[in-house]
């Protein structure tokens, strides 16, 4: 999945799941301070993304996520791992 599609999928997911204003969702947007997502929202978002990507987010990856861009990078990493030959 090319980079721009990951961001669009993520944006659509965030808008639908959390009733967010699409204009606020930029790579620099901070989940907590800018999008008003708390820790429970972060968990629910991760669960949704795990369903979409079919891959598991590790606790370490989860703890590093602060911005929408961070989430995008985690998804890309997971998808690349899935695509890589065994």
């Amino acid at each position: 999945m090319p980079t721009v599609d990951v961001f669009q999928t993520l944006k659509t997911t965030l808008v639908e799941q959390f009733e967010l204003d699409p204009a606020k969702i930029t790579p620099e947007a901070r989940l907590q301070e800018d999008l008003d997502l708390d820790s429970i929202d972060a968990v629910d978002m991760i669960i949704r993304l795990q369903e979409i990507t079919g891959r598991k987010v590790s606790p370490e990856d989860f703890r590093e996520v602060r911005t929408v861009g961070d989430v995008q990078r985690v998804i890309e990493k997971l998808l690349a791992a899935r695509a890589a030959p065994a």
């Binding site: 708390d38 820790s39 429970i40 968990v43 669960i47 598991k56 590790s58 606790p59 989860f62 703890r63």
Partner: protein, 414 residues
């Protein structure tokens, strides 16, 4: 007229034994009850493979089919722990139990898991296979309290103290108030939790479980810089609370006096702790017994080893009780026993107070700089006398509790 409330019996089933002698030996030997659950390797989505299951225990013959048909494991743990405590109190078969003057305050996070599966299957498949007359009773959240009542013929009031991690401590607190305000003479108070995948999965989903799967004895690590989450434990603990004059009249052994209880809620976030309201609950307990903070000799912490919980708790404790307050978390030994922890930790804190020795927090090698300054007991623990001790617990939904116990030497008051 307010009554005085004393503890005349204590008992339980734990990962480190089922009586104080054995438990204390394990605490002093710094032996952890945590182990790797290889059974859970069958669940690849689960990050944590750790738990502290209850040590095996035998049941006397009178736990026959008829007596236990309405009990899943959590009810069984509740009942047997209560029997040990009643035996300890010298109240087994005592007429006060069935007189209507004895009540129960008991809880757990949930009823048993197996009947939940049966009910779930019924809802999704439409067929009632497996649903029996006892399925609901085993599954209902107050299954422990009700089964204790049936088993011992208790006819007083039942307080279903089912508030997740504060079930056991709310049970003790509400039982204390019940006797204090003259509503019952004796109260069976405590909590339990059976080990099942559910609670671990819940915390796992929140990324709050420890994943040191290959080093079980190094976790959980309350207040430690390198802590990585909690470990779920299993067990049950019961305190027998009794009105003081009734205890004296029958010549009961008195372990401690229950003198203060505070409980409140954060009213803010479903899982994130709030230091302000945690501090307030400790103040409420102190106000309840009109004690100054400096009178407390030791605090038994909730100390689950989550990133946020430990910090909030240490800040609240430091603010109310000061930086020189001795404190330790028994969850470092038993894991987080959920519904049982409030009463388990109260039992063991009272026992430690009587022995003039307080256990350390295991695995506390490097204090997290984000945790407030307190006198964290480490190493071999510490021998000292305390006149008053406090035991705190904080649960999901922001429910907080604080209990204060006073030392009792001999049968006569100080």
């Amino acid at each position: 007229m307010l009554r005085r409330v004393v503890v005349t019996g204590m008992g339980g089933l734990t990962a480190l034994g089922h009586d104080w002698t054995n438990i204390e030996a394990n605490l002093r030997a710094r032996r952890s009850g945590v182990r790797r659950m290889s059974e859970w390797d069958a669940y690849p989505d689960l990050n944590s493979r750790l738990a502290a299951p209850c040590a095996p225990f035998n049941l006397p013959e009178h736990y026959n089919r008829r007596a236990t048909r309405s009990m899943g494991r959590v009810a069984l743990l509740s009942t047997r722990a209560t029997e040990l405590a009643l035996e300890d109190a010298g109240l087994l078969k005592h007429p006060v139990l069935t007189s209507g003057r004895t009540g129960i305050a008991y809880g757990a996070c949930a009823g048993s898991a197996e009947p939940v599966i049966t009910f779930g299957r019924m809802v999704t498949s439409g067929n009632l296979q497996g649903v029996t007359s006892n399925t609901y009773v085993q599954m209902m959240s107050h299954t422990g309290a009700v089964n204790i009542s049936l088993f011992f013929g208790i006819t007083g009031r039942i307080i279903p103290a089912t508030s997740a991690c504060t079930s056991g401590s709310q049970a003790v607190g509400f039982a204390y108030e019940t006797i204090k305000y003259g509503k019952q003479t004796v109260m069976i108070a405590g909590g339990a939790e059976e080990l099942s995948l559910g609670p671990t999965a819940v915390f796992d989903t929140l990324f709050a479980t420890s994943t040191r799967n290959d080093a079980p004895h190094t976790t959980p690590r309350p207040f430690d810089r390198d802590r990585d989450g909690l470990v779920v434990g299993e067990g049950a603990a019961t305190l027998i609370l009794e009105e003081l004059e009734h205890a004296r009249t029958r010549g009961a052994r008195i372990y401690a006096e229950v003198i203060g209880f505070g409980t409140n809620s954060d009213g803010s976030h479903i899982t994130q702790p709030e230091a302000d309201t945690m501090a307030r609950v400790m103040q409420l307990a102190l106000e309840d017994c009109e004690l100054p903070p400096a009178a407390i000799g030791y605090v038994n912490a909730h100390g689950t080893a989550t990133a946020r919980g430990d910090i909030a708790e240490s800040l609240a404790t430091n603010r109310v009780l000061g930086k020189r307050m001795p404190i330790s978390s028994l969850k470092s030994y038993f894991g987080h026993t959920l519904g049982a922890c409030g009463s388990l930790e109260a039992w063991l804190s009272i026992a430690m107070m009587r022995d003039n020795w307080f256990a350390p927090t295991l695995n506390l090698d490097n204090l997290d700089p984000a945790c407030a300054e307190l006198d964290y007991l480490t190493g071999e623990g510490r021998s000292f006398e305390a006149e008053y001790i406090m035991s705190n617990n904080f649960a999901f939904g922001g429910i907080n509790t604080s209990l204060i116990f006073r030392r009792w030497d001999g049968l006569m008051p100080a």
